[in-house]
Every structure is written in structure tokens, then in C-alpha cells.
Amino acid sequence: MLGLGEQGRLVQKEIWAVGGGKGGTGKTYLSASLAIGLAKLGKRVIAIDADLGCANLHTALGADPPAATLSDFIKGRMKTLSEVLGETSFPTLRLISGAHDFLEIANPKHTEKMRLIRQIQDLDVEYIILDLGAGTAFNSLDFFLAADRGILTVIPEPTSIENVYRFIKSAFYRRFKRAVRHPDMKALVSCAMDQKNERGIRTPHDLMACVEAIDSEVGGRLRKTMAEFSPKLVVNQVRSQDDAALGLSMRSSCSKYFGIHVEYLGFVEYDDCVWRAMKRKRPPVMEYPDAVSSRGTGTVLANLLKGEQIAFDLCVRG
């Protein structure tokens, strides 16, 4: 994304959002690792804790709870996002902390949220990392869709995998609904989101086919827009080769079932170093830069920067 910097110059900027549905799958850990990794490469980075209800990205980054938070911005006590920027121990990495106080901040009004997203897009920086909350609430979906790259963390457990699929589907429908203008089409999406709908629409692909049957021109245009929807997958807490191959199977499943193109960025091995570092409130990638987990997040970062994913033909055998 191109944006205007503070001095009016053009800056190349990328927003990466890390979500994933279920809690405890390593969203904050991955956000912090990516932000630190970018800062170590000398990039100017802002990490934003978009988990409005349960903010703790500052802890994962090894920073103190900042004086100003997103709630100051949302409630209008501070006019711009730059006023709530906090420093970290990395010179090029700054932090916008989530809300710590009000309960209602977890559910900002639509206008408040859109103002926030607009200002995020206007920040003068090279990379913005958004750490999203668990679940498929509109908050998480909207931040996810506002990003240039949406990353999903999954752990090799049924509950986590189910939630990731649900997240992908919800995000797809929400983006779809925004892309269509006609009220009939919007109604069709609402109908499709009900799993037991009368029209028999069960997958995003069914929905697309349904739209094309009604209006082929709109359908064709939509198909192009939605082809750009390509969530990235990271498998965390990998303990075996089968776990690592899960990303490939999920990518294949998403294509075969939803007709959605998912990219598998890489995996992070299960590693006690992460737990050890977290207990000391230190970022694992700083405490143990050579640990398997840190190498894993390093690969994920490299793939994001190169725009690559895990090899097409790779077949990890258990």
C-alpha cells in the first residue's frame, strides 16, 4: 500500500494482521516475533495491539505498559494515533497498546473502529503489525480485512483447526458483502452465512456460483475481487512431521472445499524456550535467537518478505 508520510513523501507501507480464531494459538507470540524480526532488519515498524478486550502485546515485546493506549484514542482523549505511540527497547519498533481499562472499549462503535482503521492506514512507517483478538467478532474480521496480508495461526488440534476454517469463511463473507452494492446480493450473503439456508449455499464457492447465475457480470467482477482473498497460514506448536504437513493439508482442503486460495507460510516447532522466555516476560526471539522456534518464525518472516510460501510439491512424510 502506498501512503503519504508526515512530510508528504510517498512511503511503501505494508500492514500485516495476525489472527486465527482460537485463543492460545500464538497470535501475540507471532506478532511480537515478526515485529522484532523486522526491527532487527532495520525496518521502521509499529506493532498495534488490536485485541481490544485482552491486550498484552506489550508484555510479549518485553515493554512496560505504556502510559497512553488505544482507549485514549477511541474515546477521543487523544486526537491522533501518533500520540499514543509507545517506545520499545528497539529503536525502530514502536508500539500502540490495546485498551486496559474500559470494558466497553472491547466493542467500539462502527464509526470509532473505522476512524481507527483509517488512521492506522495513515501511519508513517514501513510495516504495521496488527495483533488481533481471538474469535470471529466483526472487530477481528475488519482489522484482518484492512490488512495487506492476513496471517492465521493454527495449532494441530481439532478446535483450533475448526476455528480457523470458520474465521476464513466469515472473513470471506464479510469481504464479499462489502464488495457488492445491490441489496439483493447483500441479502444473499446474509442468507449464505446461515449454515442451514434454504438455497443450499454451503461454501463460498456455492455463493459465487449463485451470484453468477443471477448476474454474470457482477459475478465475474466479484470472482476477480475474491481471488485476491488469500489468507496466510502458520502452524504453531509443531511436534511431528504430520503436524508440519497439516498446513499443506489445510491449504488443499480450503481449495477443494471453499475454493479459497490459502498460502502456507511455514511452521513453528513446539519449544520450551518460548515458555521459559515468556515466564520472564522476555521475547523468545531475543532470549533464544537460535532456538528452533525462533528459526521457525524467522522462516515465516522471510517468506512474508519474499512473498513466497512452502514449496508446492513438498510432502512431509510422517
Binding site: S249, S255, K256, Y257, D313, R317
Partner: protein, 192 residues
Amino acid sequence: MKPFREQNYYELLDVRPNAEKEVLAKAYEAAKRAFAGDALASYSLFDPGERQALLARLAEAWRTLSDPALRVRYDEDVLGIRSSVGPPAEGAVPGPRPMAFSYADLPATGVTGSALRSRREAIGVPLQEIALNTRISIAYLQFIEEDHEKGLPHEAYLRGYLTQYARAIGLDPHTVADGYLRHLRILRSGKR
């Protein structure tokens, strides 16, 4: 990306159209695992009917692509591309690697190191490849094939090695492990 009913055989198996046969075989095995009824990645998506349809499509893809002649025809007729694999040369029929269990040529009483080695050589799998895939030291694999009693590890470990080795050359793991250990015991008692 397209849903499976619209995918071509290569897309179904997640491989490039110029993929070699070994890659296809691995991809097919991986796909069968990924879309089995209890598979973590797909159990929550497909209902039994769809799953059956998908597995049938996968089997069809494998049947076609694993046969060089059928593959050439599929590439030309359906995809409209000149096959990168090339038609099978006259006379030289390398024969596909037997993936499925075919134990008929190796009776349970005849499981010896040399029998296993000839089976492996017949299907053209190098020992290095097995060592790499199973992470078993190549020395142990050689000892197995040489019936090198002294070099072999304790039976508890050996059984595990044998099952993995058997799988790698497409044999039934239990029959091979049982047969080989029996063979080893006979060898040892003969020497005493």
C-alpha cells in the same frame, strides 16, 4: 483455486504438471491421509458423501497419472499440453514402483536380509533414501540386509527399524518384522 469438482488431476494432487512419478506417488499418499474420515485437516469440512466423491476423484487422478500412456493422453486431450514426461520408450518398460503391499513374492519364512535387499533393488529404492526418510542410520540398514547379527541393535529397537524399512519398500511391516526376527533367532541358534 477451484473446488475439487473443477480441479484437474494435477491440482487435485497438489503437484505441478511436470511432476515426476515419485512425487505423484507421495502426493497421492498424502492426499489420501489428508482426506481420510478422521483426518485433522478435513474432518470438519466434508460430509461423508462429498468425502467419498473426493477420494474417488483422487483415486481416478492417481490411476491416470501413474500410467505413462494414460497420462500422455490426459495431458494432451484434457489439458491440451504436450506431456513433459514423454511416452514410454519402446522395449524399456521401467515398471512403476509397487506402492501397494505385494508380499506374495516373499513368503513369511523366507524373510532374510538378502531377500529384502533384492526386493529393494528390484523396485529401485536406494538405501540412502530409506535412511533419509526413516532417519535410521544407514549402517543399521546395511546390517539388516547383510544379516549382520553382531551389528544389529537390541530386538526392541530392531523391530521398529524393520517395520519402517518394510514400509519404505512397500511390504507389510508386521510380517517383515516377525519373519526377520524369527530368521535371526534361527541364525543365532545355529551358531551356538
